[in-house]
Symmetry: C2
Subunit: 547 residues, 2 copies
């Protein structure tokens, strides 16, 4: 029997293999990335989503390493959860490890996890695997993909990548290594599909440098730039523009400040000491001598930009003449939040610059022409598109077919699907149950679909609750207590008489049924439901307690 390699893309939501991929040979498992996803708009009250790694827990002692491609949330955010379950070292480049350390420290795991720092270009022998991280360009420095030599053959995992010839840190992708893999013969390529619907070639980060230069040259007032806390390259670009045009720079938002400190310490950010000021000092400088970097580019109401837009920031207030730059892509689902922020900032007189009207952000992911180059550089026998929704994987699969890879050598699958590879065959196996785990508050896993459905119903029409107290003879002791929330404002003219009507329905139903009747509560609920629907066209959740 020929040797078998298993590849399993795991959880996250919608996107496949984005947050975690398992590579398994006999009793040896490698995990690539451990990220989290943010919930969709109709996942009410959910803070985070982590991959469902039940599959791993059954064989946790086989895990040899957790390999991390780069330091973004969707690739490292689940580590605080995963590392409570798995006893294996984390492998990452210095900057990525710096970001992970901050994260583990917050989770009280500092010092409890083995951390092995590597450099792109190293070769790591881990169990039966030889892991060769290679440098790729993305929107954060120190990113890698992995060449993993397994007993079945060489697997290449691109991580998130783009072929940027002029990245901010000047470190171009390692084309030579990819060509070398190709020369050795690649069994399987796992490649980033995020932009598979996007024709052409993603613009270089260098175009942003130009856009910021223009903005800084022109702006007469303060400049406030919003981006992601982990977008270290963007912080560098803003710092460079600020330096050139003699502005001080304040960095605000706890996570962005911590990341800046760490990246400067490790040498990934080059900002002169005298240039950084505290956010409290901003008002002491003339408007044309300060720049601010902040979090909140997704319009989150509690972020720095959210508070600024709503006039609720402690130290900063938008004033006419301010230029506000949203230097980030709006994540699908956040469009409404971002639009509100833009409108609010404009209301207060700011000149707002965002991705539709200036090139203040470019994607960190390869477009279709780059995907073709990746496939032709690597020349894999088998191809598994990852990092994208099914729609993106389907398009990426079509590209691979156009490049000459046979349809049965391509696996477009969903999370939890077990892929089995031999030297000459790719088999799509069963799909594991589950998919992802909701995190709400401090609880992990006690929220499930039925609880979510109840939240949806409550959000839809609220609830209407009646408590009736009967004496021993089954007579009503006093007026029923009614508590209702999210249903209607009962003080409004339109709702007049609703409360009295409901009381009457309760009393009338009580008079029909025997006290102590088992169906009494249900009957009152039904009667109330009919009454409220007739009056309002709505169906709140109804509960009746008779005691």
């Amino acid at each position: 029997m020929s040797k078998k390699l298993r590849i399993v893309p795991l959880g996250g939501l919608g996107e496949i293999g984005k947050n975690m991929t398992v590579i398994e040979f006999e009793e040896h498992i490698l995990i690539v990335d451990a990220g989290l996803m943010f919930p969709e708009n109709d996942m009410l009250g959910i803070d985070l989503i982590i991959p469902d790694y039940q599959y791993l827990l059954d064989k946790r002692e086989r895990v040899k390493a957790v390999l991390i491609t780069h330091g973004h949330e969707d690739h490292v955010g689940a580590l605080p959860h995963l590392m409570k379950e798995i006893n294996a070292p984390i492998y990452a480049t210095p900057l990525t490890m710096g970001l992970i350390e901050i994260k583990l420290k917050e989770a009280g795991l500092a010092g409890k996890v083995s951390m092995k720092t590597f450099q792109a270009g190293d070769a790591l022998a881990i169990g039966p695997f030889l892991v060769e991280p290679f440098h790729v360009a993305h929107s954060i420095p120190d990113c890698v993909g992995f060449g993993i030599t397994t007993p079945v053959g060489l697997v290449v995992h691109t991580g998130d990548y783009k072929f940027d010839h002029t990245p901010v840190d000047g470190w171009a992708p390692d084309f030579a290594k990819l060509a070398e893999f190709s020369a050795r013969g690649v069994l399987c390529l796992l490649a980033d599909s995020t932009n598979a619907e996007r024709p052409g070639w993603t613009p270089s980060e260098a175009v942003i440098t130009q856009a910021f230069d223009d903005l800084f040259k022109r702006a007469e007032g303060r400049i406030i730039v919003a981006s992601f806390a982990s977008l270290i390259s963007r912080i560098q670009q803003v710092a460079n523009a600020a330096a050139k045009y003699n502005r001080k720079l304040a960095i605000t938002g706890r996570s962005m400040r911590e990341n800046t400190k760490m990246a400067r310490r490790l040498g990934y950010l080059d900002i002169p000491d005298g240039m950084l000021i505290d956010i409290e000092q901003v008002n002491k400088y003339p408007a044309n001598q300060v720049a601010v970097m902040a979090t909140g580019s997704q319009g989150e109401p509690t972020s720095v930009m959210g508070r600024l837009a709503h006039g609720r920031h402690r130290n900063l207030r938008i004033q006419p003449g301010d230029t506000v730059v949203l230097s980030a892509h709006t994540i699908p689902g956040n469009e409404e939040f971002v639009s509100r922020i833009i409108n609010r900032l404009m209301q207060q007189g700011a000149d707002v610059v965002y991705e539709h009207i200036a090139q203040v952000h470019v994607s960190g992911h390869a477009s279709r022409e780059e995907m073709k180059l990746m496939i032709n550089l690597v020349r894999p026998r088998f191809f598994v598109p990852i990092h994208g929704e099914l729609r993106h994987l389907v398009q990426h699969g079509k590209i691979a077919q156009e490049m000459g890879i046979a349809a049965d050598h391509i696996a477009v699958v969903e999370n939890g699907t077990i892929l089995e590879l031999t030297e000459d065959k790719l088999t799509v196996g069963e799909r594991l149950p589950g998919g992802y785990v909701f995190v709400s508050g401090e609880s992990v896993g006690d929220i499930d679909i039925p609880v979510m459905r109840d939240r949806e119903k409550l959000a839809e029409n609220g609830f209407f609750m009646v408590a009736v107290s009967l004496d021993e003879k089954g007579k009503v002791r006093k007026r029923p207590r009614i508590i209702t929330r999210g249903f209607a404002n009962l003080e409004k003219e339109q709702a007049e008489g609703l409360l009295e009507g409901a009381e009457e329905v309760v009393t009338r139903t009580l008079s029909i049924y025997q006290a102590g009747s088992e169906v009494l509560e249900t009957r009152i609920e039904e009667a109330l439901s009919r009454y409220l629907y007739t009056e309002t066209g709505r169906r709140p959740l109804i509960y009746v307690i008779v005691q």
Copy 2:
């Protein structure tokens, strides 16, 4: 004192003057459009939003006419509400009136409203106004803008428009009329700002004809096209392609079917009788001889496409080989729904075609170069950008400035702002309170912000309710009843002991306080809140009833 004209853009949500604009001279009021908006994702349980026309109700007898530009929901959808309050005729072109009649009939207002049909090019004397509807191109036939000669001057309202030289119905925009207005001298231009962030010129509807021709030529299985029910032009394009490639056409979705019937009757849709089949008949034809048009291009779960994607449609089931075309723009906020539908359809083996990967939809609104043409054709003294969020109005205002209109001749304002125009001055007046009205179920106006906040809280963490029954001596008669929804699945391992713990907290608190104490319920609520937060990190709404 010089004569004064008032212009007031009204409600809707986010977008300004989109759904309704009031034009007022002394005791005479014209209303332009009466549309509705769909709620944003965090407006829980809200079905629709209509403009807050309180301003009009105070002077409803002054309203002389409700002028309608075209038959889309966001321009006619509030008529069933408005026409219960206002006693004035509706003016519209034949197709638009056909769509309005269907709407009023559903609302039980058929025959109760005066309806005056006009043709583009007519001149209507209404009170002191001369109203001259002129033809514009958009994504539905029979659209107009209005030239309104008032005692103060000529006001031009573009409606929704694009300068499409090759629209589906062959009826190009009326450039001559705009030039004529310009020759007469235009006091004020109110113009569509939707695409003010979009450079260039919006492609013609004709490009879609080509895209459909390619699709129909290539497809070997069934073709299913999703679009808006009121996109009459798109129905024509699909029918044309179906005719050319010898496919029968089934139209499904009640509103789309009704609109098709009406538009054929009025001569706005040209579909041969033998070509249309019922959806039940689709399975009787070979796959390559049928096409289906359906609603649900926004991914609404209960729409035809939603049911198809989830395998819940009564007559139709997606099969490998089907081509599904989403021929519509995804409205901001619906991205997640649409993406889910695309992924689901692909899961079932359909080839899914949508706006990112083929030109199966073009915008119905003018882009920046068209906006410049409109301004230069009309050459207004004053300019008021409408139809767009503040961000779009700001960009449209900048375009007008670039075209030489002075900043103080441009009013970028929000809904409810009263603009006053004399022959030589534009004054931005006070802003009316209010803005829009929520519609939920059959109720209008009894849902307000506090009710929405409760729904948010319920959606966030659910509720936890305890009913305790005491006897006359203040002793607990039996175990407290606990009802909780949307909080946690109490049967899950992670929630073990939570119910017992909560009961204990209740009993303990009862033992501390006197029965009959006024603060008893509050104290139990506080104790429960602390307990549940400690255990889960979440704060459900908590209610305690002691009887």
